[in-house]
Amino acid sequence: MSAFRWLAERWVMGVALLVLGYLALPVLVVAALSFNRPSNRLSYDFAEFTLDNWRQPCATPEMCDAVLRSVQIGFVSTVVSTVLGTLMAFALVRHRFAGRSGTNLLVFLPMATPELVMGTSLLALFVSAGVPQGFWTVVVAHVMFCLSFVVVTVRARLAGMDRRLEEAAADLYAGPWQAFRLVTLPLVLPGIVAAALLAFSLSFDDFIVTNFNSGTTVTFPMYVWGAAQRGIPPQVNVVGTAMFAIALLLVLLTSVRKGTLLTHSVEEGPPVNNT
């Protein structure tokens, strides 16, 4: 009976750990392959251990160019979409105005539209308008689909913020600009940073929309796609592993710094608006 109960209480966790394993497996494989010396160009199997790929990540210069291009596009798209999206989020949370629900719909729709449709429709627009495709058309496209995610992320943070904090600032002699700078901004900033990181990763990783609008510009996903036909240099796995490691490190560092990596089982103090 006790064994049965033990199992009954833990099988969900068991299944969960198996699923987490399923999610982690390809990442481990990518990490392993980054130390692989493949037997031939088209092989995806592990052949021989080597550190060469990490020593010479740019052995295939086209790949490093593509990574650089992706970083540039990601950076510009992130800055533009974060600024525009944050402004929109402020308008949507802090103001009642005619056309608010229409705006909400316009923000929601891109998230519910298949990327394929967004990609092809932008292609149709650029072609019919005679716009040559390249770096900037990709940026335009990326800002477009990142925008909604930025709005949603910042809006959630802003909506969760107690309006009385700003009133308290005004009550304590802070003018509108000071109240914004000293109270609103610091409290919303984590949301804006999260939105920017999300935008960057969406942009950096996008293939489908980019594929239709890049012209001859090659981003990292475009490069991998093309190389998949011809044979993938193992350095691709170095980039994948490095991205994973950097992102994971960022997440772990911030949560360790804020002490939120391990949730406290007993909440200390009363539930106040935590940062």
Binding site: Y173, V272, N274
Partner: protein
């Protein structure tokens, strides 16, 4: 900063025809009010009565639809909140979660360009008995400690008026009692005008010098806690501040120093100086603790008036026992009998005579058609039409 006039001699806070409408809803309806400098003033009323809106209009967080807010001779109606010599202790405190206690308290001083704030902050923290709590974050404090930080954060600015929005609402009962005393002590110590908004009658009565009872955007009665309690102005006040037995009665004008009334076929009278109305439809009011119960009508104290009835319910609450007495006409009266003697309790079904000293009774105007209002029904909608 230059715009701040903190050194001016201040003066009374005056509201002059203050009105605030939200769309078609009138939250505050032509309020006229004077709060004397240095007094502890309470705006008491049920939720939605407009008391918080009034407070926010004084703070500058809500722009009145019409009317004026005056501080001494100064019209501050259109002054932005950060330019008013008024500070607020917000409901649930609104402490800045990203700043520590020290920076929270120093916030107002820094905004006014004061550089060296440390000594003043330390002095304020000592005043609210939070010495050494400066480096902590608000989330690390208990509710009572947060309350005191909010108080220090407002008081450090030496406002002419301190506004408190349900300051003790988030605290548990015991802490609330403690803080009531503490707040009163602080108010006397700093001598600032305190205007407090609360829906808790006990809180208003223990702390405030003057209480304004608000209902539906208007002030129903203004005065000292005891004056209001002993001689309420309206049926709403009679049942919002404590409880009252209100009998539907008819009056036909004063006769000498008395106002005779008829209620349910019986004749009573009330001293003329305790009649808010003396003609037509009136309520005859008696507080439950002023209603005494006796076995028979023989040997009642001289001058007492009485009604016969049957005990239908008895709740023992320690200091007193609360009885419900059903009268011959089917109404129910509530009577609180102090458990001061050795006598046992009256059994349910006992025939009793409820009697009172007419000097404790009062007459209030009654809308024709409104019947009795029994006390003892805390959940009954008070002030609303039946």
């Amino acid at each position: 900063m230059n715009g701040m006039v903190n050194e001016s001699p201040g003066g009374d806070l005056r509201l002059d025809g203050l009105t605030k409408r939200f769309g078609r809803i009138t939250a505050v309806d032509g309020l006229d009010l004077t709060v004397a400098q240095g007094s502890f003033f309470a705006l008491l009323g049920p939720s939605g009565c407009g008391k918080t809106t009034t407070l926010r209009a004084v703070a500058g967080l809500e722009e009145p639809t019409s009317g004026r807010v005056l501080l001494g001779d100064r019209d501050i109606t259109r002054l932005r909140p950060h330019r008013r010599p008024v500070n607020t202790v917000f409901q649930s405190y609104a402490l800045f979660p990203h700043l520590n206690v020290h920076e929270n308290v120093a916030f107002g001083l820094r905004r006014r360009g004061i550089r060296s704030v440390d000594a003043e902050v330390a002095r304020m923290l000592a005043l609210v008995r939070l010495d050494g709590f400066g480096p902590r974050r608000p989330a690390q404090l208990s509710g009572g400690q947060q309350q005191r930080v909010a108080l220090a954060r407002a008081l450090i600015n030496q406002p002419q008026v301190l506004l408190l929005d349900e300051p003790l609402g988030a605290l548990d009962l015991k802490l609330r009692r403690q803080m009531q005393v503490e707040l009163k002590r602080l108010q006397i110590e700093v001598g600032t005008t305190f205007v407090q908004v609360t829906h808790d009658q006990e809180e208003a009565m223990t702390m405030a010098d003057t209480v304004a009872v608000m209902n539906a955007g208007r002030i129903e009665q203004l005065g000292g806690p005891a004056d209001i309690y002993e001689y309420p102005a309206t049926a709403f006040v009679a049942n919002f501040l404590g409880q009252s037995n209100l009998l539907a009665a008819e009056a036909a004008g004063p006769a000498g120093s008395e106002v005779p009334v008829t209620a349910h076929g019986a004749r009573f009278s009330v001293p003329a100086d305790r009649a808010r109305a003396d003609r037509g439809a009136v309520h005859l009011g008696v507080r439950p603790e002023k209603l005494h119960l006796a076995g028979t009508d023989a040997g009642l104290p001289a001058g007492h008036q009485h009604v016969a009835g049957v005990v239908t319910d008895a709740s023992y609450v320690g200091v007193s026992t609360q009885y419900l007495v059903r009268t011959a006409w089917g109404g129910e009266l509530s009577a609180f009998v102090a458990n001061s003697g050795l006598g046992g309790q009256l059994p349910i079904g006992a025939s009793v005579v409820a009697h009172w000293d007419p000097r404790h009774a009062f007459l209030l105007p009654r809308e024709p058609g409104h019947g009795d209002r029994a006390a003892g029904r805390l959940d009954a909608p008070v002030g609303a039409a039946p």
